[in-house]
């Protein structure tokens, strides 16, 4: 196992799911074994991979009512442990921050990378994802209100380092980047400055907005395989080479 990477954001709509799916796909293309874990009750990542909504999912794994490998579905987008609508009750059902970490232990020697998609809130699921992770990536858009969200996420990560001292904040991935107006370019530069002041960085390049991502989602295929020459696919491939260089 090289890395367990948790993707987080304080806001919805920052392409966490697309980023998780794309990184996993790019890792597979680069010759690595990767596993996706969907922790969001909305099940966007589950749907995006074309995985079945029925059968074993992450709730069964967290309850340890099955063997860990039984929770894995093989899809044309790679292997995934799917979410469940009953994750909505996770804050009541989960007692400890270490439950996910314990549950995925049997899988660590089966994969090079595990990528965890989280809900856009700071509940027990996100805490568990940060406890289980070796690295965390924040997704954000180059937008005015992103700054407030970034500082909140940074504070959350600092709190989690008490439980998981090895957790590394690797940086911020800018998604849905249009970059045509000077204002947006200025906001991106401001985010780079803010990231440096936070002790982290923007992981280059920003992922450009493209209709190809919407098209790929409709086809239940990741952008890397759907449109490998698109700006977004090339951006995610380059981002993934950065990730591979961590170890």
């Amino acid at each position: 196992m090289k890395e367990v990477i948790t993707i987080i954001s304080r806001k919805g709509g920052t392409a966490k799911t697309t980023t998780a799916q794309s990184i996993a796909a790019a890792l597979i293309r680069s010759g690595y074994k990767s596993l996706l874990i969907d922790l969001d009750a909305q099940r966007n990542l589950t749907a995006a991979t074309g995985a079945k909504f029925t059968g074993y999912n992450i709730t069964h794994l967290l309850e340890q009512s099955i063997e860990a490998v039984e929770a894995i579905q093989n899809t044309r987008n790679g292997d995934i442990i799917t979410a469940s609508p009953f994750l909505a009750g996770a804050d009541l059902a989960i007692k400890h921050d270490t439950e996910l970490k314990q549950a995925i232990k049997p899988l660590l020697n089966l994969y090079d990378y595990i990528i965890i998609d989280t809900p856009p809130n700071y509940g027990k699921l996100t805490r568990n994802a940060l406890t289980a992770a070796t690295s965390v990536i924040i997704t954000a858009q180059a937008a005015t209100f992103s700054f407030q969200g970034l500082e909140e996420v940074k504070q959350i990560i600092e709190q989690m380092k008490v439980i998981n001292p090895g957790l590394k904040l690797r940086g911020i991935v800018i998604t849905n980047y249009a970059g045509r107006s000077n204002k947006v370019k200025q906001i991106l530069d401001d985010i780079r400055t803010a990231a440096a002041e936070m002790g982290t960085e923007v992981i280059e390049p920003p992922i450009r907005a493209t209709d190809k991502i919407t098209e790929s989602q409709a086809e239940k295929l990741n952008i890397i395989d759907y449109a490998p020459r698109s700006t977004a696919a090339r951006g995610y491939m380059e981002l993934t080479q950065n990730i591979i260089s961590w170890t």
Partner: protein, 82 residues
């Protein structure tokens, strides 16, 4: 036997005691044609039940919802005797 996650979700839904349409957690289902647009919020437990029904019939959940929303919700609640 319900899993602890299912039990926790049902407890949350019951404690909020809100009608389905006002549930704080849920899936928004939108039905749209040339002349009308309606939406309804379904609770996670309802959606889980719909997934099971769709799997039993060998069709996709969205097709089930699009074509038979009222019938399926009534049938689901009858089945669970809620």
């Amino acid at each position: 036997m319900a899993s602890k996650f299912e039990a926790a979700t049902m407890r949350l839904e019951k404690e909020t005691q809100q009608p389905e349409a006002a549930a704080p957690i849920g899936y928004k289902v939108i039905r749209e044609s040339k002349s009308f647009r309606t939406s309804v919020i379904l609770r996670p437990s309802t959606v889980a039940g719909l997934d099971e029904m769709a799997a039993e019939r060998g069709i996709k959940r969205n097709a089930l919802i699009a074509d038979e929303l009222e019938k399926i919700v009534i049938e689901y609640y009858k089945r669970k005797e809620i």
